[in-house]
């Protein structure tokens, strides 16, 4: 589940990857994006009113369970949903250009050039019948007026860059001849071949063992520094978030439920679902007796989402909310108690106190004091 980077306890970590560049418009602006899939059983409400933005050089982490809408929303950025089976509304602007409703030719010029995507399972995401080199060269040829030979040379160069040993000899290998980590590197090489301004990494390390995970994350950070790309990293691994992201977006049932700068959000979460995510991550420094506290219940149905707050059926704290607000009214994504740019969707009147006194002592008692400190600093 968790990467080795978390061993300090990511609750205290959350490093800055890139210096903020002030005054620049965000490269990607997603505004009230809603994605619906009509099916025989009804309308699947995959993503609802989702808004976020990412600047160049910055990394946004999107966390959530399977089916929370994290992949669906990112695929919409590339216009990858079949318009015949998808209802899309809202706005997605990439470098100022509108993606929602854009025609196929415009999307095609954007895909793989300005915006590239790294997919989760590189074995199934790479074509089994074409060599690694051909697949990377194809991505380059599509957006550059070069010969096949130059494209192949570029593929070798990219494989070398992502750390494939003897890239020249391996370029004609097929995906099945690569190990899992090498396949993911090849996938990254393919995504980066056109120096994209925005890179979307959909669970890039999920299929890999932890040592390889660390290498891949380091690689992404190095490449980001070099190209000043914006990165969206989709994961359910908070360790990856702590390592990589400047900002975090927590999704639940197709909605943003908490957003904010990584360090702040991981140390002062104010939404019970985020608490649940933090509680269910193992901490290698903790004693072996320490309990993992899973979130009870299952993710909600997207065909018939629960009324009120989508998390209410699984929420352990809803009795602290006066009346039946949780089951009747969807909370807005409002500024949180602690920190700037920190927003959460929760009716709890004082979530930061509940977290500090009830949740944190359970999951990481050693951090309670630190939590108090940052809370005071940030609320000042």
């Amino acid at each position: 589940m968790s990467s080795p980077h978390v061993n300090e306890g990511f609750l205290s970590a959350g490093q800055q990857v890139f210096q903020p560049s002030a005054g620049e418009d965000p490269f990607l602006v997603v505004d009230e994006l809603t994605v619906r899939f009509p099916t025989h059983d009804g309308l699947v409400q995959a993503v609802t009113d989702l808004s976020y933005s990412v600047e160049r050089g910055k990394t946004l982490g999107i966390v959530g369970e399977s089916g929370s809408g994290k992949s669906v929303s990112s695929m919409a950025v590339l216009g990858l949903h079949d318009p015949r089976s998808t209802r899309l509304s809202g706005s997605i602007r990439v470098g100022g250009r509108e993606i929602v409703g854009a025609d196929e030719d415009d999307l095609r010029r954007l895909r793989g050039k300005d915006v590239a995507m790294i997919f989760q399972d590189p074995l199934s995401a790479l074509h089994p019948f074409y060599s690694i080199g051909d697949q990377i060269a194809e991505a380059y040829l599509l957006h550059n007026k070069v010969s096949k030979r130059e494209a192949k040379a570029r593929a070798v160069e990219m494989l070398d860059r992502v750390g494939i040993p003897q890239a020249r000899n391996r370029v004609d290998d097929f995906p099945h001849q690569f190990s899992g980590g090498m396949r993911q590197r090849a996938m990254i090489a393919m995504a980066l071949v056109n120096d994209p301004k925005l890179l979307i990494a959909d669970e890039p390390t999920t299929a890999l063992d932890v040592t390889v995970q660390a290498q891949i994350l380091d690689l992404l950070q190095d490449l980001q520094r070099e190209f000043n790309s914006a990165i969206i990293i989709i994961t359910h691994d908070l360790g990856v978030i702590a390592e990589m992201a400047d900002d975090v977006l927590v999704m639940y049932a197709g909605r943003a439920v908490e957003t904010g700068p990584t360090k702040l959000l991981l140390t002062n979460p104010e939404m019970p679902y985020t608490w649940g995510l933090l509680s269910s991550v193992p901490d290698v420094t903790a004693s072996t007796d320490a309990r993992l506290i899973p979130i009870p219940g299952n993710p909600p149905s997207l065909l018939n989402p629960p009324s009120g707050c989508p998390f209410n059926p699984r929420c352990a704290h809803k009795d602290k909310v006066p009346g039946d607000l949780c089951t009747t009214t969807l909370p807005d994504l409002l500024p949180a108690q602690v920190g700037e740019d920190h927003r959460r969707r929760c009716h709890l009147p004082d979530p930061e106190v509940i977290y500090g006194t009830e949740v944190l002592p359970e999951i990481a008692p050693n951090l309670v004091e630190q939590h108090e400190q940052t809370r005071e600093e940030e609320t000042r």
Binding site: F119, L126, H127, F129
Partner: protein
């Protein structure tokens, strides 16, 4: 790769040899005396005549001996005696009971017609079927897709010989669009060869392409759901190239398997087609040989040809696999 092909060739040869033994056994060990139809050919057959022919044909020898003589004829000339003595050049498949000609010569005379029908028809229905299948899969669920699927079901449910007969009656006899639907060897010129075979090709293409359209569509629908298709789209590959390069490359493999076997059957002669369009190919030959009195040497030759053709087709399909799918290489 070379080792793989050699191994496959050896096993293919083994299959052909076993088939030839089986065919031989079927006819010469069967309950009927193989000399009987020959004896019946010239009017009355009396016991003395039958006994003589049985002796002349060597049917009193052990089967192993008989097979040995037959097999030896494949590599060296043979003398065959029934009534008069016939000289049979190697590779000798025997002397036809009815025409008294060498079976091998007749086989080589007729095979080009069957190959011509098979290649033209096969290529036509493969291309039409695959393209229609890709289009249907790409427009899955639309009117185009449903129309194609429905039409293919209708066409598939009409017996092949009805289509062939109706086509011949209307296009050839009634409207005269294809006045000449007989086979002309290509040595008489490409024009007559082509125009003579066009209607049979179209009939084959029309009827068989529906199977391929449906099959390709199914494979394509499955392949289009694969992650690597999404990857291709995300790279910026245009839709037509995603369909015909990335998706079809993977979807075509099982289609080619089907085609390999189908094509082999085509090469053993489309009996109805050859009969209706008066093409003197293998199929018609086999039918004539099966009429009473049965022409054993011809029948066994057609069965042997069928076996060889199917084995070779399978071999080619497997070699094709190893070229298209790198994971099969050196398997």
């Amino acid at each position: 790769m070379a080792g793989y092909i050699v191994r496959r060739l050896l096993s293919a040869a083994l299959v052909v040899v076993l088939t030839s033994m089986f065919v031989f056994a079927l006819f010469f060990l069967g309950p009927a005396n193989a000399a009987r139809p020959l004896c019946d050919l010239n009017g009355r057959c009396n016991p003395e005549k039958l006994a003589l022919l049985t002796e002349q044909l060597g049917l009193n020898d052990s089967v192993v001996n008989q097979y040995g003589i037959w097999a030896k004829g494949l590599v060296s000339d043979r003398e065959i005696v029934f009534g008069p003595t016939f000289h049979c050049d190697a590779p000798c498949l025997g002397i036809s009971y009815s025409t008294r000609g060498e079976v091998t010569t007749e086989l080589f005379d007729r095979f080009p017609a069957t190959i011509s029908v098979a290649i033209g028809g096969g290529a036509l229905y493969l291309v039409i079927g695959v393209v229609l299948g890709v289009v249907a899969a790409a427009r899955r669920g639309t009117v185009v897709d449903r129309g194609l699927v429905a039409a293919s079901l209708v066409i598939y449910s009409i017996p092949f010989y009805v289509v062939a007969l109706v086509a011949w009656i209307f296009f050839s006899l009634e409207w005269g669009i294809f006045p000449d639907t007989t086979y002309h060897p290509i040595s008489e010129g490409v024009g007559p060869w082509f125009w003579g075979l066009l209607l049979p090709w179209l009939v084959l293409g029309f009827t068989n392409s529906t199977t391929y359209a449906r099959y390709t569509r199914g494979q394509m629908v499955e392949t289009l759901g694969e992650d690597y298709i999404r990857t291709a789209t995300a790279k910026g590959v245009r839709r037509s190239k995603v369909l015909f390069k990335h998706a079809l490359r993977a979807a075509i493999v099982p289609v080619i398997t089907l085609f390999g076997l189908d094509f082999a059957y085509l090469l053993t002669g489309t009996i109805f087609l050859e009969q209706i369009f008066q093409i003197d190919g293998i199929g018609r030959w086999a039918i004539e040989a099966l009429r009473d009195p049965i022409d054993f040497p011809v029948v066994s030759a057609t069965v042997l040809v069928g076996a060889i053709v199917i084995v070779v087709a399978n071999l080619l399909v497997d070699i094709f696999y190893s070229f298209i799918d790198p994971r099969v290489r050196l398997a």
